[in-house]
């Protein structure tokens, strides 16, 4: 009897536990995995999400004219595993907490997240690339005050390497390459001789 009264009292105090939905608002847990969303500004087109998607819900199609690519996520195939979010290096693809997925059959083929992501030319060589997200570039080059992340993020990988190589050339190598250049111009000797020349120089300098 006492335990019954205890339960009764608790129930009276707590009120009904039924969620008012659909008549009223419902709760959404903060970490609920809902519809996938892409931030086209951050996407680099690396295709890691495409390869890790367990349901094959992601498609990336290059435009024939090289202007960019179409990024498509089909919500009706997505199993909400969040593999894409985990592996995306730029955190461009995320899962929202939108769980309102019910729809009529006529809308079945419109349940997509689709974006055209355009390529941007590399500021040095003009090759079409996707620029690195600004905050990511800042983080990567945080240790190096000589590098301006705003410039570097608009370079293609090759130009970035060259830029980096120029900056970090040691004085020895700089001198070496300068003298090698001089020799090339001055010397009309056969190839074998010019090849051997830098080796000699290094031994002398060190």
């Amino acid at each position: 009897m006492a335990s019954f009264l205890k339960i009764l009292l608790r129930n009276v105090l707590q009120g009904p536990s039924t969620d008012p939905f659909p008549a009223g608002e419902t709760f959404t847990p903060p970490r609920l995995r809902g519809k996938v969303k892409l931030d086209p500004e951050r996407c680099m087109g690396c295709r890691i999400c495409y390869h890790t998607c367990s349901a094959g819900a992601i498609n990336i199609t290059q435009h024939q004219d090289g202007s960019g690519y179409d990024f498509t996520v089909w919500h009706n195939s997505c199993c909400l595993c969040a593999n894409c979010r985990l592996y995306c290096p730029t955190k461009a693809i995320t899962l929202t907490d939108n769980w309102h997925s019910a729809h009529e059959q006529t809308e079945k083929y419109t349940q997509v997240e689709q974006h055209f992501v355009p390529f941007v030319p590399c500021t040095t060589c003009g090759q079409p690339i996707r620029p690195l997200p600004a905050d990511m570039a800042k983080r990567i080059y945080a240790h190096d005050p000589d590098v301006d992340p705003e410039i570097v993020r608009h370079l293609c990988p090759k130009c970035r390497l060259l830029e980096d190589a120029k900056k970090h050339m040691s004085p020895i190598v700089k001198a070496e390459s300068a003298s090698a250049d001089k020799e090339k111009v001055a010397d009309a000797a056969p190839k074998a001789a010019t090849k051997a020349a830098p080796e000699k120089k290094t031994t002398k300098q060190t």
């Binding site: 039924t18 009706n76 997505c78 309102h100 019910a102 729809h103 059959q105």
Partner: protein
């Protein structure tokens, strides 16, 4: 009089579940939607029935495996018209992670006219409730009664 009866009866469509080879995740969510007081789909006048002949709205889960395909189609045929078919979970909608599997014949809309889809793996109970609401609306339209 018959109009009046019709109006009364359409307040409570009965639900029937068919498992077309699902992993049981979606079935657990369906059971949650119905039997846990927090969600309680019976507030909408719906309840699960044990026989397809009593059903109005049929909820199908799973990607329609080769083994159950004929049985699912036979049970579906038993449900009296007008009926509303709801595909619950990405398996039923598109076959989801099992797509192109050797034993998969689905998705079910290849064989049955599906009316409502609710993707998710599994969809949360509230999403299923939304699907049931849409199904109820469509069912009333089919009957020619507006709420």
């Amino acid at each position: 009089m018959s109009d009046f009866l019709k109006k009364l009866s359409v307040r409570s469509p009965w639900l029937f579940r068919i498992n077309a080879g699902s992993c049981n995740g979606c079935d657990v969510e369906l059971a949650t939607t119905a039997f846990i007081p927090r969600y309680d789909v019976e507030r909408l006048g719906c309840r699960y029935c044990g026989s397809p002949r009593h059903a109005d709205i049929v909820l199908i889960t799973g990607p329609l495996t080769a083994r159950v395909k004929d049985k699912v189609l036979r049970v579906w045929e038993e449900i009296p018209n007008p009926k509303i078919t709801v595909a619950v979970g990405i398996c039923a909608v598109t076959c989801g992670v099992f797509r192109d599997g050797y034993s998969i014949k689905g998705p079910i809309d290849r064989y049955l006219p599906v009316d409502v889809n609710v993707p998710g793996c599994p969809p949360r109970p509230q999403a299923i409730m939304e699907a049931v609401l849409i199904a109820k609306k469509l069912w009333m339209q089919k009957l020619g009664v507006e709420e």
